[in-house]
């Protein structure tokens, strides 16, 4: 079993809909939680990061972390065709010298105009 599980999709929604993307994890040492967006043939681009449990909002994007359930979410409001991409969750623990990111498989999202 992988440390981070993410539904690979694909997920297709109409423009303007609210999108919900999720990951679960098994390693309780994870403290930092990130969402990356990856367009085809490009490198991942950091969207949001959250430390420990709680919510964080940035424009149309909201990240939620529930450490008790080992579950994280990314919500996209008023989705746009330009949001079509693969969304990767990533996690890290806080041990010095061990700042590698552990990624989910990625969810491929298509916003239909």
């Amino acid at each position: 079993q992988k440390e981070v599980e993410q539904d690979p999709g694909p997920l297709s929604v109409p423009e303007g809909a609210i999108v919900s993307l999720n990951c679960t994890y098994s390693n309780s040492a994870f403290q930092y939680f990130m969402w990356y967006r990856q367009y085809s043939r490009k490198g991942p681009e950091l969207l949001m990061y959250t430390y420990s449990s709680g919510n964080k909002e940035d424009g149309r994007f909201t990240a939620q972390v529930d450490k008790s359930s080992k579950y994280i979410s990314l919500f996209i409001r008023d989705s746009q065709p330009s949001d079509s991409a693969t969304y990767l969750c990533a996690m890290s623990d806080t041990n010095f010298g061990n700042e590698k990111l552990t990624f989910g498989t990625g969810t491929r999202l298509t916003i239909i105009p």
């Binding site: 981070v4 993410q6 690979p8 930092y32 990130m34 990356y36 043939r41 490009k42 490198g43 991942p44 681009e45 950091l46 990061y49 990767l88 990533a90 890290s92 010298g97 061990n98 700042e99 590698k100 990111l101 552990t102 990624f103 989910g104 498989t105 990625g106």
Partner: protein, 113 residues
């Protein structure tokens, strides 16, 4: 400013050949990471440098993989005697402290025939 750059962007190698992949991090970034991303998967950590010191290579898929960063800036990932299972996109990321904010390059797509 300029982001992380990688070269070449595409590399085709015959099985058994050695390849060298280059990463130019963002100027001033202390940490540098290499990840391997297979088709349809999330990036998987390979190794990590802080300045010129290689701190973590526990996830390297094979002893044929060798990375260096001799002057603490540019890094090279060398793969010896390439195999078909090495076909993937190799991503480089750099980071100022704290290291969970990693900025990725576009990747090198390696195809081993």
């Amino acid at each position: 400013g300029a982001g992380v750059s990688q070269s070449p962007r595409y590399k085709v190698a015959k099985r058994g050949q050695d390849v060298a992949l280059r990463c130019d991090p963002i100027s001033g970034h202390v940490s540098l990471f290499w990840y391997q991303q297979a088709l349809g998967q999330g990036p998987e950590f390979l190794t990590y440098f802080q300045n010129e010191a290689q701190l973590d290579k526990s996830e390297s898929p094979s002893d044929r993989f060798f990375a260096e960063r001799p002057e603490g800036s540019v890094s090279t990932l060398k793969i010896q005697r390439t195999q078909q299972e090495d076909s993937a996109v190799y991503l480089c990321a750099s980071s100022p402290p704290p290291a969970y904010e990693q900025y990725f390059g576009p990747g090198t797509r390696l195809t081993v025939t």
